[in-house]
Point group: C2
Chain length 290, copies 2
């Protein structure tokens, strides 16, 4: 396909929480959406809701070759295995994209594996839910959120533009473009580090009955500690060096704050807090421009 | 006063975000509420809303002796200074309480300073807003939240029960009782540590334009990094030993997770994440029992 239009037929591979949210957004805006996914019950659920027109638990040429645009919403290693096994089924000039949370280790491998007449343009929808499964899918999480396209020199301008248009159609507030390496450094800080912190907060103090005394701040910092352990362990390992660097930067700054406290340096602590307050204002959620 | 009843007249000292939220909740339930606060504009604002019947910027015997119950919603050192300067104005048998976020260093000092015919029963409403000022007050934050009473052996059963009844009237979902020391250890973990983490997240990486790529998880973990630096530096210093211990426990666990990542131990990481997921479920917000 050359561009993303009203007639683009979309196949979603993997109807979990993210694939389901794509299906909701796209079918809700009048696009034709089909899916391939493991469980028949998820297909039945989505067909009942009217968010897909057809679905299959088998990878067949009929389904794969139907699509102009294929969205992979799978665990990273499953995505790569799928390409290795089934890429012969794509129609020539199919465009494929993904939702994978790390890029450097995925994009180059998929592009190297892929047939020359099929193009892979990577994207990361930065919105999610802490629960897994199509029944938790919800495209309202895309409102006000960021959609990042991560092309390589192998990508065509048409494919890059099609991926950005997909982000706009899904309802994202801001569409950006980064290299896979820039993306992974950024995601190590903004997403992976925060998940490591949330998990650590839940495991560093096992005092019983603590939950009886909690306030909203602790709940906010640990919401994402309910975590899909299989997916996140894979994402962390695929971005190990960048994440280790961000963990070390965090620890060094945390130790500096600890020393200010230990030394009774109130003014030093207040300075850091004023800097944090000013910088945090930049991160308030943007309203979508109409 | 012996007990907290419909006729209890309540004086709030310090009409900021927490004092204002008390005024909203109590006046909304038909209680008579007055205040003493620094700024006339805050009194005008609250009178216009009908959440106080009178207010004064001066500490006068007329206002102080009117009250059956006095709620101090001041910075800790200002609270102690106020008691030193003005306690002669209380009517005998006045009950006083507070909203201070640390207890060990406050409760003993105030009880030691205080006249024998006035009783101080400490309490901590575990709900708040990240913005300061009466215009941000909002008693809906009490719904589903925890209210902790921290008596000492000097307190009477009547005063403890009156403080608990205050928490119930304010709309808190769960009323608990802890010693000041238990409270401070718990708060070091559940509240102070989380604020240190949020502040550190905002200051450990100064890459520009990061805000263009952020997702909800980073926003959640740093919401409380917009922080009242004067108040929190004071609270941290008043609870220094307990907070340092919690920071050290967090750092040790964070380092353990970092080592699992560095060693490529996916199963080790997944185990920690499964433990975090299970434990986090305990901390979901309770619905208030009707």
């Amino acid at each position: 396909m050359k561009s993303f239009t009203k007639d683009t037929k979309i196949l979603i591979i993997g109807l979990g929480v993210m694939g389901g949210s794509y299906a909701r957004a796209l079918s809700g805006r009048g696009y034709r959406v089909r899916c391939i996914t493991k469980e028949q019950k998820d297909i039945d659920y989505a067909k009942n809701l009217g968010i897909i027109e057809e679905g299959s638990t088998c990878v067949t040429e009929e389904t794969v070759a139907w699509a102009d645009l294929v969205v992979f919403a799978l665990y990273p290693h499953v995505f790569i295995e799928w390409i290795q096994e089934h890429q012969s089924l794509f129609r020539p000039n199919t465009l494929i994209t993904d939702v994978t949370g790390v890029k450097s280790q995925i994009v180059d491998r998929v592009q190297a594996l892929l047939r020359q007449d099929v193009e892979f343009i990577a994207a990361h929808p930065m919105a999610g839910r802490e629960s897994s499964g199509v029944e938790y899918s919800d495209d309202s999480v895309f409102e006000g959120a960021n959609f990042i396209v991560t092309p390589t020199p192998k990508n065509t301008p048409d494919a890059i533009e099609a991926a950005k248009e997909l982000g706009r159609v899904l309802g994202f507030a801001r569409i950006s473009q980064l290299t896979p390496e820039e993306h992974d450094e950024m995601i190590a800080f903004l997403s992976q580090l925060t998940h490591c912190i949330a998990v650590t907060l839940m495991t560093c103090n096992e005092t019983p009955m603590m939950e009886n005394y909690t306030g909203d701040s602790f709940r906010d910092l640990t919401r994402i500690a309910k975590i899909n352990d299989v997916m996140w362990a894979e994402l962390f390992l695929l971005n190990r060096e960048a994440l280790l660097a961000q963990m070390d930067a965090f620890s060094a700054e945390f130790d500096r704050f600890r020393r200010l406290l230990e030394e009774g340096d109130g003014e030093g602590m207040r300075q850091v807090m004023r800097k944090a307050t000013a910088r945090r204002t930049l991160f308030d959620k943007q309203k979508k421009k109409k």
